[in-house]
Subunit: 187 residues, 2 copies
Amino acid sequence: MNSSHPNGVNVDQLHATIHAVKDDPALAQFEFRAHTEWRSGAHVQTYVQGFRGVKQEDQSRTQPFVLEGDEPPVLLGSNQGPNAVELVLAGLTACLSVGIAYNAAARGITIEAMTLDVTGDIDLHGFLGLSDTVRAGCHDIAIACHIKSPASDKDIADLLDHVQATSPVTDIVRNPTPVHLKFVRDA
Amino acid sequence: MNSSHPNGVNVDQLHATIHAVKDDPALAQFEFRAHTEWRSGAHVQTYVQGFRGVKQEDQSRTQPFVLEGDEPPVLLGSNQGPNAVELVLAGLTACLSVGIAYNAAARGITIEAMTLDVTGDIDLHGFLGLSDTVRAGCHDIAIACHIKSPASDKDIADLLDHVQATSPVTDIVRNPTPVHLKFVRDA
């Protein structure tokens, strides 16, 4: 463990970021993006590269991340990538992981190891258009967060409460988030 | 275009699936999963492989999909993968793509090409713990859905309305979804 980078987190930079945002709230406005190209059937490829934050266009990524998306054969796909719900589950556990690592570092809590197992239960009557009452999405998402740490149960519980309250993806999933879709006809 | 697989979708299998679920609703109960291993700082690796559906454990994936997750340097990461919000945006556009391709096929609508551009606006005061009133997640998600198709504007609009109403990830994002987190102390 690097003492200036507990949990691999540059705590000096974290504090500097917090102070900078206190001085200039506009620094905290970010716009994240993704560009998805449909290939055929359930197969898509999504490109993630640029975003806007700290009042400028980020230039740090020299090439895009490419995410494959598909369905398994039982859902008429060809298994060229995880499906959309699995991507969201992965986003949720990634978000919690970052939040736990960063906030633990800020609190002086060492995380020696951490894994998260997430499950999302879904009734496909909604997706298949067979019910107006069954929701299309997951009716429950459950996460088991395994942490190895010398911190007390109380300190871990407080940490996890704070992280859940401040995790962007947890908020997106737990609470209503507006989605606006616009159709553009391509020639 | 394969006439038996419009938009690359096996419409016969789609109809067979719908009829099977009508006969046995339990076939529609699915459990999707992800396993995330935290590496250091913001870097995580997520493994997606098994799931439960049609009353059995799926065996079609012989190895896991591995998703890298990280933050960019401005958010204290090292750009080893997209961040958590970007993963969710990718899940949203993947879900809409699949829904559009499948439902268009079922309606006899040809999709010649399709791309989706999504943006998610977020104020990091929430994530940074600097505000109790600013939400942690996105305050708005906007999607431009570019479609090349011979279908009429009316038919495309009806299709997009139906897809948004039946898209699992759109529902997860737009509406409250319960997330339960359990702490497990590892030795």
